[in-house]
């Protein structure tokens, strides 16, 4: 098989050839169907060759976005970047950026937009150990004040911290003062962040289901349903949230939970949700 990359590089130079490969990587990340291709790129380290090859023609902002997408994908799929060629060196070079930025007082305002490689920067700080996730959580999230929304940067920081120390977040949710200390928007973010990690206790799941805010409960329950394959105690967690009183997450659960768990939802109060459950159960009987 001829290498198009090499043929193009021979005629037009390495910089242009690698520019095309980087553009392809960018499209691949943004196209839903390309999951298997991205997985292969990480498995074979081709992603390192492309990302850390000649990138002189690629814009810095676009390159930062690609780095962020790569680190986010690795975090979501449990890929250890600290041993991957190229990434290893990038992490070592950028390990202290998160600490420096926070010490310098950046991201204090929720509207402050971070650099395009901010996900990579946060992950580099946490992977290298230069930033302590517990300290970060205590200093940035334990006192929410009167704010009701997290900015882009803090939303991502929370997800990365939750991925590193899920137990700490669960303890926070289980705490009796949690409702009064965090606004509904922030509770929604925290539920979403912890549900993405696949670590929840029965008590924390129950608290998510019983949240007084529909937005917070919905976000938590939907994220649990989307990431249910990650939970070792999936049935236990689902059984705690399936009798939610809110229509939107109840409908979402009725449409997505495994069929064997549907009988748990029959007690749901909403007629429309019950109809979905009955239809799915009848379908599975055929």
């Amino acid at each position: 098989m001829i290498s198009l990359f090499k043929s193009f590089a021979k005629n037009n130079g390495d910089a242009k050839a690698n520019y095309i490969a980087l553009s392809g990587l960018s499209v691949a990340f943004r196209t839903f169907d390309n999951g298997p291709l991205i997985a292969e790129l990480f498995k074979t380290d081709v992603i390192s060759d492309v990302l850390f090859g000649n990138r002189s023609l690629y814009s810095l902002t676009q390159y930062g976005e690609l780095l962020s997408l790569s680190f986010a994908y690795a975090k979501k799929n449990g890929i250890d970047l600290s041993v991957k060629p190229g990434f290893k060196q990038w992490i070592a070079l950028n390990a202290n950026r998160l600490n420096t930025d926070l010490t310098a007082g950046r991201y204090k305002n929720y509207w402050e937009h971070p650099d395009s490689d901010y996900i990579a920067m946060i992950e580099a700080g946490l992977i290298s150990g230069a930033s302590n996730p517990e300290d970060l959580f205590r200093s940035r999230f334990s006192k929410y004040g009167t704010s009701y929304r997290l900015g882009v940067f803090h939303s991502q920081l929370l997800k990365s911290v939750a991925n590193k120390v899920p137990k700490l977040i669960v303890e926070q949710i289980e705490d009796i003062n949690f409702y009064s200390s965090a606004g509904y928007g922030i509770r929604a973010e925290i539920y979403g962040a912890i549900a993405e990690t696949g670590y929840l206790t029965k008590k924390a799941a129950r608290k998510i289901r019983s949240d007084a805010s529909e937005e917070a409960a919905s976000n938590g329950i939907r994220t649990i349903a989307d990431n249910i394959h990650k939970f070792p105690n999936a049935n236990e967690v689902l059984s705690q949230v399936m009798d939610t009183k809110y229509f939107a997450p109840a409908k979402y659960l009725a449409e997505t939970v495994p069929r064997e768990l549907l009988p748990f939802m029959v007690c749901c109060q909403d007629q429309k949700v019950r109809e979905i459950i009955v239809a799915r159960m009848q379908e599975s009987d055929k």
Binding site: F5, F8, N11, K16, S23, L25, T31, E40, V46, V50
Partner: protein
């Protein structure tokens, strides 16, 4: 190894991927994306389409129609010569 006909997924499972194949896929994804109507990088796509037809032939099934048109445009003379030679 023949390249998978559907470039946007599905045919990757079970096949032994070599690095060149994967990079070829990225290159084709990029070129198909540019040919689909991107106003950026058109010159780069045109340079790509000028590659030897023998190099591009193996990848023909994975190219989209706009990319194929760009290649035909870049190699118009060769195509016309070939068409006339078959008279």
């Amino acid at each position: 190894m023949a390249i998978a006909p559907a470039i946007f997924g599905h045919n990757f499972e079970g096949s032994i991927m070599v690095k060149d194949d994967l990079i070829n896929k990225l290159v084709i994804i990029a070129i198909n994306g540019i040919a689909a109507g991107s106003y950026r990088d058109v010159e780069l796509a045109k340079q790509f389409c000028k590659l030897d037809l023998s190099d591009l032939a193996d990848f023909w099934p994975t190219l989209t129609n706009p990319t194929k048109l760009m290649i035909i445009e870049a190699h118009q003379e060769e195509f016309l010569k070939w068409a006339k030679s078959n008279d």
